[in-house]
Every structure is written in structure tokens, then in C-alpha cells.
Symmetry: C2
Subunit: 204 residues, 2 copies
């Protein structure tokens, strides 16, 4: 399970979608009570639900993780994760540090946490203003939240600066490929070789 977080505007969603497009990775679509932006599609970008429905899901223990960001609720359904695990498909999460922490707590050996950094706060502010979908006070709030998120960088395994999108993607891609090569993930291969060596009586 690859968790990707970043302050909004640092480019995590673009990077995450590109990775999910190249590999057989299931993109975990979160539930949120936030209003859709004009280009967002229900069921693809988010499952947009009412506060009442979200509260019902919380009470029904339907979330693997959930958090409040900018006053809106976001959550990952346990059913989504369990389906991926059952299918043996890697799962990609585009969630914040609170969500990442909960995923790590529940699947410590199987989770890799990656934090996308903007090249500078100045550049982050510029990107948020350029997006121009948000009012000025919303942008200021996002910058303050970015500061808050950054203070949690110590909880992540990897830090990737998104200065140049292609370079940042090459790094994210390497992190994902390397995660598939860890000893824990490939224990069966080494065990099979040891059995073969023992059967062939190559005495150690």
C-alpha cells in the first residue's frame, strides 16, 4: 500500500494518477463531505457524500481511516482496501498525514508513506493562486495547512520534491518499484531457492 500525501497544490494527485495509470495499482477513491470542484467526477475523484451519510459510515466502522481537513471530512472505506488485498493488487492512497498514520497503524509491514514537497512555499502559493478555483482566504488557509502538514514530514518514509513533474514522477515510480523488491515481499523466492539447494544437496 503506497500512501501519497502532500500539501494541496504540491501535485500529489497528478503524480498518483500517473502512477496508477502505468502500473496495475488500484487507486483508492476516498469519501468526502467536501463540495465537488467543477472538474471533479463522483466515483472517480471522490465519492461525494452528505455529512449525514459520512457520519453513518463512521458509526458503522466502514472506514480504514478518516480525517477532517479544511473543515471537510475525508475517509477510506475498509471494503476498498480489503477488496484490493483479496485481489492481490497494490493500493494507492491520496490522503493526508492523519490518514497515512492510520494506514501505517493498521498495516505496518505493508505500507510505504511518501510525502510530496513543493520546491518552496512561495512556489506553492503561486500554484494555488494559478489554480484560481479558490477564494483568497481559502488560499491563505491552505498555506497555513501546508505549514501544519509539513510539520509531520517525520512520519514519512520518503520525501519527493515536485519541482519538475517528470523528475518527481521518476522518483515516485522508483519508490513504488523498490517497494515491490523488499525482502518481506519476496521471502517466498528465497525460500524456494533454499529448498531447491537443500534438495540438490549443495552442502552449505
Amino acid at each position: 500500500m503506497l500512501v501519497i500525501s502532500s500539501p494541496s497544490g504540491a501535485g500529489k494527485t497528478t503524480l498518483a494518477r500517473r502512477l496508477a495509470g502505468e502500473f496495475d495499482l488500484r487507486f483508492s477513491v476516498s469519501y468526502t463531505t467536501r463540495q465537488p470542484r467543477k472538474d471533479e467526477v463522483h466515483g472517480k475523484d471522490y465519492h461525494f457524500v452528505s455529512r449525514a451519510r459520512f457520519a453513518e459510515m463512521v458509526e458503522g466502522h466502514e472506514f480504514a481511516e478518516w480525517a477532517v481537513v479544511h473543515g471537510n471530512q475525508y475517509g477510506t472505506s475498509i471494503a476498498t482496501v480489503n477488496t484490493s488485498l483479496a485481489d492481490g493488487v497494490d493500493c494507492l492512497f491520496d490522503i493526508d498525514y492523519q490518514g497515512g498514520r492510520q494506514i501505517r497503524q493498521q498495516w505496518p509491514a505493508q505500507s510505504v508513506l511518501c510525502f510530496i514537497l513543493p520546491p518552496s512555499m512561495k512556489e506553492l502559493a503561486r500554484r494555488l493562486r494559478q489554480r484560481a478555483t479558490d477564494a483568497n482566504d481559502v488560499i491563505e488557509r491552505r498555506l497555513a495547512m501546508a505549514h501544519e502538514e509539513l510539520t509531520h514530514y517525520g512520519e514519512y518514509d520518503y520525501l519527493v520534491v515536485n519541482d519538475n513533474l517528470d523528475q518527481a514522477y521518476a522518483k515516485l515510480r522508483a519508490i513504488y518499484v523498490a517497494a515491490g523488491c523488499t525482502r518481506v515481499r519476496n521471502d517466498g523466492l528465497a525460500q524456494a531457492l533454499l529448498r531447491e539447494a537443500a534438495a540438490a544437496d549443495h552442502k552449505p
Copy 2:
């Protein structure tokens, strides 16, 4: 510091040299008391030294790690590692599990240990016979040593099966690139952003 080990014949040297060729990586040339094979060059493949000279270096504490493999001595000089560290250049080690263990002990936070596996013991035997530089009993001894080395796979961070050279290289390359993205290696970037956010008074 990237340590690459494998049973002989699994292809670690080819992979390691390709990586050192693509990136600005310093390949650590080991000292050995082994006789050079006909295609090996002194100072490039190994520093070939006498047993007396090797013993002198051991007594002079000149080795960061040294080990006995197939009855021959192999060692990495501390001077080589220190020069790389001083130059800020990543260092690549083509050494066995005993050497890898010593590198990890001395530089625990900076070392990444990668074990190259043959696809099968049968295929390893085929490759060793094909190389045909060694006598039959030497090959049998190498297979027994391969079994012994495999029992130490648990000391490695990553396992890469060398079935197809290009695929194995892509994985090794990803492991190296990802190692450059760890939080420990990029702490300074996150700290700089936090200082900038604090100075701009984006209140968390």
C-alpha cells in the same frame, strides 16, 4: 552506500557495473588475495595483493570490512569509503554477506543492502558451467557456497531475482533512486520549507 551481494554467477558484477556507469556512483574496488581471472584488470576489477600484504593491511586496520570467501581474502579499504563520503559521492560495494554485515554495522543509517538471486539453483549451475573458467570441483564448491550465502538473505533490505538482466537492472536502479529519496537523506529540504513557512507566518 549501496551493497550488492549474490552467489557467484547470479550476475551482481554486471548489474553493479551498469549502475555505476549510469549514475555518479563510486564503485568500491576490493582488495583480494585471489588469483586474477584472465579477463580481470588490476585496479579496476580488484586490487590483487599477496597474502602477506593483505595481512599487513588487516593489522594496520586499513579495512572497513574483510572476509574469507572460497579460501581467498577480500577487503574494502577504509580510505576508499572515507574519500567517497568526503566527496559526497554514493559508494557501491560488490561484496558478500559478511562484508555487507560489516558495512551495515559501521554505517547503519546510510547503507542499503541488496541481494541478487538466481532464478533457480539449476540455472545458477548452468551459468557457472557456461562461464567455464573454473574446474568442476570449483563449480561444486561455488554451488555449496551459494547455498550458504542464500541462508543469509534475511540480512538484506531488498531481494532482486536476476532472470532477465534488463528487468533485474530496472529493479536495482529503482532501489538506488528510491534510496536517494528517503526522509533521512532529504531532511534538509523539509527543514528549509518549514523555515520558509514560519518566516512567511503561515500559521499552522
